[in-house]
Amino acid sequence: MDSELNDIEIIQRITNRDSKALETLYDRYSPVLYTLVKRIVTENNVAEEILTEVFVLIWQKSAKFDINGGNLYAWLINLTRNKALDFKRRETLQVTQEYNDEYEDNSILPVLSVHIPSNSLTKTLNSREKIYTAFNNLTEAQQYVLSLAYFDGLTESEIAKKLNIPLLTVKSKIRVALDSVKVNLAKEINND
């Protein structure tokens, strides 16, 4: 399988049951997806188990990805995050709903905006330093709130409860934090 295939070509091939394409996708995305899962569940073997399930899911549900204008990078990241957070919530009995096909379609498969900008891992890895800088430019509080929301899967009210701060503060912090990342990234890219 040639590794120069773009993300859309790869997912199309996976949809057509090309196992080599899945292998290419694994080679390309497994480090970032594994890192994300590991950040959420911490244990190695659990992270590996979840990553396995993620790739099985990709194999089974790749047709659900919107090939026309879709952002595979964001789709995979969100899919992996949802799966890892679902595992974590089930362990702590936060989620008791039966895991079935319908649940998977509604709660695990990501619902992305149809107008999401196109992106790919290669592109993001090339500008990884800029992304890193953009996040580091946030205040510690902003970084922490973002981390609680994104990696720990807490809702705004859960964060407020955890940090014992008003919900509105959490809301504004999250809003400002993501806005700042967006602006910082734009700045970093414009500086080049």
Partner: protein, 337 residues
């Protein structure tokens, strides 16, 4: 109802997936009610949020994980296949039952139609009976082509046999011994409870076994009518005779017959091949023998030539003025000088 400003304020949390349940519902309602939703903005935030994992120190999973994923996928695929095949088998067992019922209904209908017209003379009824015979049975009468013959019992496909098997749900495909056309035909023909056993009784032979009365009738003015009836009966009889009644033979027998034919064909081909091979070997032996004889002849010829040459040399040597003597002497003197 939330306003546009609030919607914009919820986009970041929506993109991060940390929106509270009630707000999420509110936002969903806003979208569902057809208000203009800032999809572009949401898309940008979703893309930005997806970049967050790249701020982490990247870790590489163990190389074995790839193999484990591959194994799991293979396992899943096999499970799916097994499931599908089971479902297909179940469908197959259900469908034929329906087909049989439908066919029985059709046959019943056809027979009921016959019953309605049964007031006509028996001879004419018999001519109506022909279409009652199910198509599947008629299909069985088509001769087997040699191309269709295979050694694998599972692959054997008899013309028209497929349609018979579809009406036979309970029988396993591999169990050829269990397969028989008789019970199917019986179910097709016997189950409709028709009070017309005359169909069986109206044997054509009964009509034309008695040639004498016909001959007697030749002199009477009614001859043409009777003759035409007899002729039609004769034609039907000959047609029926020309078609072997496969419905009364077991399918297993037919299958073994085809196998026997195949074996015979193979045997014939093998014999032919052996004959050709022996013929070629014989030709090869003849050629080898001829070459050997040629070799022997040439050997003796060259031997005699050499001997005659040797004699000639000896004769020349024996002469005192022989040129060969001078050559030898000169050669020796040159060599040691």
């Amino acid at each position: 109802m939330i306003d546009d400003k609030k919607v914009f304020g919820l986009l970041q949390a929506k993109a991060l997936g940390c929106l509270d349940e009630d707000e999420n519902i509110e936002l969903q309602n806003f979208i569902n009610e057809g208000f203009v939703f800032p999809w572009d903005e949401l898309g940008i935030f979703q893309n930005t949020a997806a970049l967050l994992p790249l701020a982490l120190q990247l870790e590489i999973p163990e190389p074995e994980l790839k193999d484990r994923i591959a194994l799991k996928l293979i396992k899943l695929t096999e499970e799916l296949r097994a499931k599908k095949s089971i479902e297909e088998e179940q469908q197959k067992t259900v469908e034929p039952e329906e087909i049989i019922e439908e066919e029985i209904d059709e046959v019943v209908d056809e027979f009921s139609e016959i019953n309605e017209t049964f007031e006509e003379p028996p001879i004419e009824i018999e001519t109506d009976i022909d279409p009652v015979v199910p198509n599947e049975i008629e299909d069985l009468n088509t001769p087997l082509s040699s191309d269709d013959l295979t050694f694998n019992l599972d692959d054997i496909e008899l013309p028209g046999f497929e349609s018979v098997t579809t009406t036979e749900p309970a029988l396993p495909q591999n169990d050829l011994e269990a397969l028989s056309a008789e019970p199917i035909v019986n179910t097709l023909l016997d189950e409709p409870q028709i009070a017309t056993p005359e169909i069986e009784e109206l044997k054509v032979a009964d009509v034309w076994i008695e040639p004498e009365p016909i001959q007697q009738l030749i002199n009477t003015p009614e001859i043409p009518e009777v003759k035409s009836v007899v002729e039609t009966k004769l034609v039907e009889e000959t047609e029926d005779q020309s078609k072997p009644d496969f419905t009364k033979k077991s399918v297993a027998e037919k299958a073994f017959k085809t196998l026997e034919q195949d074996f015979d064909r193979l045997k014939y081909h093998f014999d032919e091949h052996e004959k050709r091979l022996s013929h070629k070997l014989l030709i090869a032996y003849i050629i080898i023998g001829f070459l050997a004889a040629l070799l022997v002849v040439f050997f003796f010829k060259f031997n005699s030539d050499i001997e005659s040459q040797q004699k000639e040399i000896d004769f020349l040597k024996s002469r005192p003025t022989s040129f060969l003597n001078f050559i030898e002497k000169d050669f020796a003197s040159n060599l040691f000088s």
